[in-house]
């Protein structure tokens, strides 16, 4: 039977996809701003965050409205509750891109401490994970969601590598490098947190599709 509710769910789906695209764009631009030391681009990311926050509120409102009016069950209920969680994760991801942009503004006028190698690598992993998590949600693809979860250890490894390098090879040897090293250290941390939020999305997607809770239970994967 055709349901009007399905049309409303499709609209919600589109909005969450839009939220995902905006979050991906924010990460991409913040890293481009870092690489090219482009303060204007960093400011653009900061400014765009208001739009993402507004969209987050509107998606939340729409979910609550649909739950109140339709009292959904089973797969509809899982879709709506997952949609709300993914919405919040994407908003946090966009906030972290904003944090990266703020760090870029802190170091943009100073000489670069070292050539950027591992942070861009980490940013590629983060962007791919966000893209795959959103696609897993859109296409209801459990395998893709699992792939996202498997990417996280590499992100952790890279972040630890970046931190060790900045602390041991720069700050420990010359404390005066701290004002340029700490923002880079934080950027690596922000990117790693983005990956963590993305694994939350992947876990939520698996719950939405299979009603299986893998959060805190990796053995269930």
């Amino acid at each position: 039977m055709q349901r009007h509710f399905d049309e409303e769910l499709k609209e919600l789906h589109r909005d969450i996809l839009k939220m995902g695209v905006l979050a991906q764009e924010a990460i991409y631009k913040s890293i481009e701003a870092l690489k090219s030391r482009d303060k204007l681009l960093a400011q653009e990311v900061i400014k765009a965050d208001d739009k993402i926050d507004e969209l987050e509120l509107s998606i939340d409102e729409r979910c609550i409205d649909l739950i109140a009016r339709h009292q959904p069950m089973a797969s509809d209920l899982r879709f709506l509750t997952t949609g709300m969680k993914i919405n919040a994760e994407l908003e946090r991801i966009a906030d972290l891109a904003l944090d990266i942009s703020q760090r870029v503004l802190e170091i943009a006028d100073k000489p670069l401490l070292k050539p950027l190698v591992d942070i861009p690598k980490l940013s590629v992993i983060a962007q791919n994970m966000v893209r795959d998590a959103i696609n897993a949600f859109i296409k209801r693809d459990v395998d893709l969601a699992k792939k996202v979860l498997l990417s996280d250890p590499e992100a952790d490894r890279l972040r630890n590598f970046v931190s060790d390098e900045l602390v041991n090879d720069y700050m420990a040897k010359d404390p005066k490098t701290a004002d340029r090293a700490v923002p880079l250290l934080l950027i690596a941390r922000h990117l790693e947190r983005i990956c963590d939020h993305t694994t939350n999305i992947a876990e939520d997607v698996i719950y939405m599709i299979e009603a299986k809770v893998v959060k805190h239970h990796p053995e269930k994967l």
Partner: protein, 250 residues
Amino acid sequence: MYKIITKNLNLWYGDFQAVKNVNASFSENKITAIIGPSGCGKSTLLRIFNRMNDLIEGVRTSGEIIVDQENILDKGIDLVDLRKKIGMVFQRPNPFPLSIYENVVFGQRVHNSLRKPELDSLAENSLRSVLLWDELKDKLHKSALSLSLEQKQRLCIARLVAVKPEVLLMDEPCSTLDPQATQRIEELMRELKNNYTIIIVTHSMQQAARISDDTGFMLLGELIEFGKTDNIFTNPLDKRTEDYITGRYG
């Protein structure tokens, strides 16, 4: 612990098979909801449990219904005793055109010869168990027909409780009540399940989700899925259950 277990249960109205090979176990001191579209056989299933369908001409059953190690479909079963043990609450409350007091003690008057003080205490306890005592203690000799719909439904439950049943069958007990009265009856059911096994047939999936511990979904006489209510309403295993509870069926 299961109170009622059905084994390969079938029922025919003449040539029409209304219940098809139902195998299910109903837990003691739990609420089990039976849901499904109109005509799916859910009320028929409920009525088999105290052999109400025996009153209909041309009805035939096969299989077993085990209650306390006894097959209640056996020919030798005493139907009066069975209906005392397994009572039913109907869609529309049906108090007798007697006083509130007489309604409550009616069953015991039929089954036993209790004396007045015993009957008084029975009336009080039964009305207390359905949370009507405080409201009605000064009006016990008024006609039961003067009560509100919700009070009448509670009174019918009190009338059942007074004969000390073990199982309460409820066929759409809230369908004629407003949302507040429905909520109060649901609260009552939660209280009652501490002492009784309750099986409820309901058209309201929200009601089934709110109050039941287990849920069975029926379609065209078959029990399609039976399990924990939490699972049925978040992750049904059968696509037909999913389609029904999400409103895609039809």
